[in-house]
Symmetry: C2
Subunit: 251 residues, 2 copies
């Protein structure tokens, strides 16, 4: 057989066959006078084995190992490992599909908001009575960001807190007022008297259950500075004071 026949018979490409030669998986056959490779059944058998193993999901290096020690003992080992690996992959896939479905279900409500975690997306989508002021939008962005940034073990509790707050008409109304006060500071100076007012209002929106780690936070932390940079000076000052209030409260 020449390489094309061999490849066709086993159902791979000639390129793959040559690749296996290159990696030493498949022994190079004799050449004809013209340089063409001349294959025999032995090669077809080995090639078929390679293909079967790769179809199972083994890497070519593992295939080489298995083919090398013809004591098939290693094979069981490798296959068991592989099965565990596939199990992990399957679980991960299921996870992702679940998240995807949640996201798709909730997607209609907030196309401009971009992809948020499925849980938050559902929450925000369900609460259509939210304010649309600039600060409100930014706050949702920040919440979404915090939720990806924070350690996984705090996430669930945090999402639950947000859900609670959104479920309470009083809390939503208080938040709306705080957003309005902050929006009004867009062009103000940092020493504007309304800064303190806005800070108090904002602090009042954040119940102890939400954001309990505020107590351990340094209001001049590096990451927070990045956050302040994103706001007008007076707004940043208000948020800074809010955090100071929270730190005091929770110490």
């Amino acid at each position: 057989m020449r390489i094309g026949e061999l490849a066709a018979v086993v159902g791979v490409t000639t390129r793959a066959v040559r690749h296996y030669h290159h990696l030493g998986l498949l022994p190079e056959p004799e050449r004809r006078a013209n340089g063409y490779r001349e294959y025999g059944l032995r090669h077809a058998v080995v090639l078929a084995r390679i293909r079967r193993l790769t179809e199972l999901g083994l890497g070519l290096a593992e295939v080489r190992d298995v083919l090398a020690d013809d004591a098939g003992k290693d094979l069981v080992e490798v296959l068991t490992e592989l099965d565990e690996d596939l199990a992990r992959q399957e679980a991960a896939l299921r996870e992702r599909r679940a998240r995807l479905r949640t996201l798709l279900d909730a997607e209609g409500g907030m196309p401009a908001e971009g992809p948020v975690s499925p849980e938050l997306a559902a929450l925000f989508a369900g609460a259509s009575h939210l304010s649309d002021s600039p600060m409100a939008v930014k706050d949702r962005e920040i919440i979404a960001f915090l939720e990806t940034a924070m350690p996984a073990e705090d996430r669930e509790r945090m999402v639950a807190s947000v859900g609670e707050a959104l479920g309470s008409p009083g809390a939503v109304a208080r938040a709306g007022e705080a957003y309005a006060l902050l929006d009004a500071l867009a062009d103000a100076e940092p020493d504007d008297p309304r800064v303190e007012e806005a800070a108090v209002a904002l602090a009042g929106c954040i119940p102890p259950g939400l954001f309990p780690e505020a107590g351990e936070l340094d209001p001049d932390d590096g990451f927070l500075r990045a956050f302040y940079d994103d706001l007008a000076p007076a707004q940043a000052e208000a948020v800074r004071r809010t955090l100071r209030i929270l730190v005091e409260e929770r110490r």
Copy 2:
């Protein structure tokens, strides 16, 4: 923020961040006088989105598309496609795991035989009374090879036929005799009178149900030549005659 902080906050590596810059996924921020990149919250938000999308399984090119048209419409499309893709992957994974398990269950019996298709492995493993003569081993190799080489739609029927044959003591005995006759030809000349005898015996082992496409086979086909090369001349001649007998019978 500098790149390390940004990366830590979102939970990626600095290398990944630079990679996203390189691909144009994440806009390059301003530089400080010393050349360091200086990030703001905007970057953290975008980076977090990128991460979320990639965790869902989108490729970086798709992420770029989604981030580009901020009409979130494309997103739903992409995600739906993605879900279908993931579904396919999940099915494929399950397939592979099933094959793997069958293979692992049947593995104890035939370590030296190497990896065969799960079904055949189970069959061969279950029939411990098979001959171990050289020709018998080669025949099992060939059956295994044919099973990978043949089109998928014939495979099931073929495996079933082999199973039937192995289940019939008479058939197994006849095969054992045929193997013995062929083994005896290892050093014979192609015009040895025993060649015809062996060919008849071998043809008798192959019932019409097994290998029905023998009728359409050209005994001097390229692939078969490779098979003959693997046998002693007299053995090859016997197999050739066997095929001729089958072709006659089934025409």
